[in-house]
């Protein structure tokens, strides 16, 4: 009999702890709001310091690509992670953003720092493309959706090859030359990508906590049931797709200015889709911090492999092996796995979830019967 009282006592103690931390602490992934704000400030400070601390161009380039892919993976996750519709066609937006910037620069003779004024345009072009893309692809679910996104991706790659007057075909487009010094060039691009990543994470955070984000996540769990409860699934999915596509388009334009040129195979690159999905899967699908952490791990590793192995096929094979390993061994991703480990260390896992502050237990007998 004495055994039966102890879990109840520990549940009550956990309840008091939860009361102190407040209700927002319970669903969070990494501790209370104070801890999380601290971690966030620390991470941001580290990212900002990185650009000043390193003047090695190779290191800064890896930093730039990491920040850029944080933006892309978070944007991808904002749609695919929250809604459960796994898109392997986001390179359409990345490439369209790059080409939109390239085409306008070429035809309207935009040069110098003014090219950055075209970033919103690149985002808008990608967002507009997302509307018909979404209207077609979002009519089907799961595997069929994945296949449709891949098909549409190849349509766009083909168009980049064939619309010679706009895209220059296989010759590609060159970005205007920026008269920045070599180190300053890398540093500035790093901070531009970082700013974009911060904005994207902010949008992802806003969406996740919003009514709109809740509708998206309900669609992920049971779209038909959500629809029967009054969630207008198509507009909700499409809006997320458009926001996600627009942000990816801006990232594509930044990448184009940095690399200096765009070809059909590099702008519309299937490896982009795999990389972005891998980053989100590794970090934790549907979490805010997951894609950030995933990018910080994957991008430097990928760059290191490409530069040291000197065989791009091998690094792509390794990428595929890593993808398989993640799906097999970390199906929920790093962030949820670590979070549940931390919770069990702290011993507040289910007890904290079971005890909510300030609530009487009028049907304690019934609850006892359930447990």
């Amino acid at each position: 009999m004495s055994d039966s009282t102890s879990p109840r006592r520990s549940a009550a103690a956990a309840g008091r702890r939860a009361e102190l931390a407040g209700p927002a602490a319970v669903p969070g992934v990494l501790g209370g709001p104070g801890t999380r704000a601290g971690l966030l400030a620390l991470a941001l400070a580290a990212f900002v310091a990185f650009g000043v601390a390193f003047t090695n161009q190779l290191v800064l380039t890896i930093g730039f690509l990491t920040a850029l892919y944080i933006c892309c993976a978070v944007a991808w996750n904002l749609f695919s992670g929250y809604s459960g519709y796994i898109s392997l066609g986001h390179a359409v937006f990345f490439g369209s953003g790059a080409y939109a910037a390239g085409i306008v620069c070429e035809h309207l003779q935009v040069t110098g720092n003014a090219i950055f004024a075209l970033l919103p345009l690149a985002g808008a072009v990608a967002a507009v493309i997302a509307v018909p893309f979404g209207l077609v692809a979002l009519r089907v679910r799961r595997h069929t959706f994945v296949v449709i996104t891949i098909a549409i991706f190849f349509i766009f790659q083909l168009m980049a090859f064939d619309l010679n007057t706009l895209t220059n075909g296989t010759i590609g487009l060159d970005a205007p030359f920026l008269v920045w010094g070599p180190v300053a060039f890398d540093q500035r691009f790093y901070y531009i990508a970082l700013a974009l990543a911060v904005v994207t994470v902010g949008i992802s955070w806003l969406v996740k906590g919003s009514r709109f984000g809740l509708q998206l996540r309900a669609i992920r769990d049971d779209e038909d049931r959500a629809a029967s409860l009054g969630v207008r699934a198509m507009p909700v999915k499409l809006t997320a797709f458009v926001i996600s596509g627009g942000l990816t388009g801006i990232a594509g334009a930044v990448w184009f200015y940095f690399i200096g040129q765009v070809f059909p195979q590099s702008g519309f690159d299937p490896i982009f889709d795999l990389t972005v999905a891998l980053i989100a899967f590794l970090g934790g699908l549907g979490t805010i911090s997951g894609p950030v952490i995933g990018a910080v791990i994957i991008m430097p590793a990928e760059q290191y492999l490409t530069s040291s192995i000197n065989d791009s096929y091998l690094s792509q094979i390794l990428l595929g092996v890593l993808f398989l390993a993640v799906v097999l061994f970390l199906p929920n991703g790093l962030v949820p796995a670590v979070a549940s480990r931390v919770r069990s260390w702290l011993g507040t896992g289910t007890a904290a979830a079971a005890a909510v502050p300030g609530v009487a237990q009028p049907v304690a007998a019934a609850k006892g019967a359930q447990e």
């Binding site: 209700p23 319970v26 669903p27 806003l206 969406v207 906590g209 919003s210 009514r211 709109f212 984000g213 809740l214 509708q215 996540r217 309900a218 992920r220 769990d221 049971d222 038909d224 049931r225 959500a226 629809a227 029967s228 409860l229 009054g230 969630v231 809006t239 549907g286 289910t350 979830a353 079971a354 005890a355 909510v356 609530v359 009487a360 237990q361 009028p362 049907v363 007998a365 019934a366 609850k367 019967a369 359930q370 447990e371």
Partner: protein, 260 residues
């Protein structure tokens, strides 16, 4: 007095199987009506037809004297018919509270004047959360409000589904086997809650195999067999009807055993 909900001559076939044929039932406002019958007699199909998940081949559904046949599920829900599913359909990766807010956002307390509101507003205002918490307390799962719904036990999921259907304050609630697969003490909780809600004016239509549950709770019972109503009336009379004994109670014994 006309019925709050009635079906007239509903027929529905799936391929060669006639799930419903000429099925007509009536649910008076303010009552608890039971719908019983052997497995495969068409009870869930009738629910699906009423709530818009299936289109009938023939017949009409009337709710408060308005024809609602062939409306989409969300329209039926918005009109005030809430339902639960035999295999509960909750959102497992949302928290219990978020499940409640999903049901609240369109037809419930949240919708008024908010349709064109800021989509990035935090999910669920204080009023919605307060009402959701009240209902969770009412069903006894308030202690799990911030747990993921997927971590709830089977019985708790049934209670959650009941609670989130109630968030939108429907006029009538259709429950598909609320006591199925649940331990006996929780069955009493569920039947007490239904009785309490009914005393406050809510109408219920309940599909259930547990005869004790049905006979103790319902004011009126309809018996389905092969897609047709073979008997209808107060539970005392239905209990002794030879047609019912023949069609149903012969196999009811095994369903009385709670699962797990």
């Amino acid at each position: 007095m006309t019925a709050l909900l009635r079906t007239e001559g509903i027929s529905k076939a799936f391929g060669g199987v006639q799930a419903l044929s000429e099925c007509s039932i009536e649910v008076e406002a303010g009552t608890i009506t039971g719908l019983i019958g052997p497995n495969g007699s068409g009870k869930t199909t009738l629910f699906n037809v009423i709530t818009g998940y299936e289109r009938p081949d023939e017949g009409e559904v009337y709710f408060a004297d308005r024809k609602i046949t062939r409306l989409a599920p969300q329209r039926v829900f918005a009109d005030g018919i809430g339902r639960t599913f035999q295999l509960t359909r909750i959102f497992p990766r949302l928290t219990v509270m978020e499940n409640m807010l999903i049901a609240a956002q369109h037809t419930g307390t949240a919708s008024r004047g908010r349709r064109f509101g800021n989509p990035l507003a935090r999910a669920g205002g204080p009023a919605d959360r307060h009402r959701a918490m009240e209902l969770l307390r009412f069903t006894g799962i308030d202690g799990h409000a911030h747990a993921l719904a997927g971590t709830l036990s089977y019985g708790q999921r049934k209670l959650l589904e009941l609670a989130y259907v109630l968030v939108a304050d429907p006029t009538i609630v259709l429950l598909d086997e609320p006591a199925g697969g649940i331990n006996p003490s929780l069955i009493h909780v569920i039947s007490d809650r239904i009785a309490e809600l009914n005393a406050a004016g809510k109408t219920f239509l309940i599909v259930e195999h547990n005869m004790e549950f049905v006979m103790g709770l319902c004011h009126h019972v309809a018996v389905l067999d092969y897609g047709t109503v073979v008997a209808a009336g107060p539970p005392q009379i239905i209990r002794d009807d030879p047609r019912v004994l023949d069609a149903y109670l012969g196999i009811a014994e095994e369903d009385d055993e709670p699962v797990g």
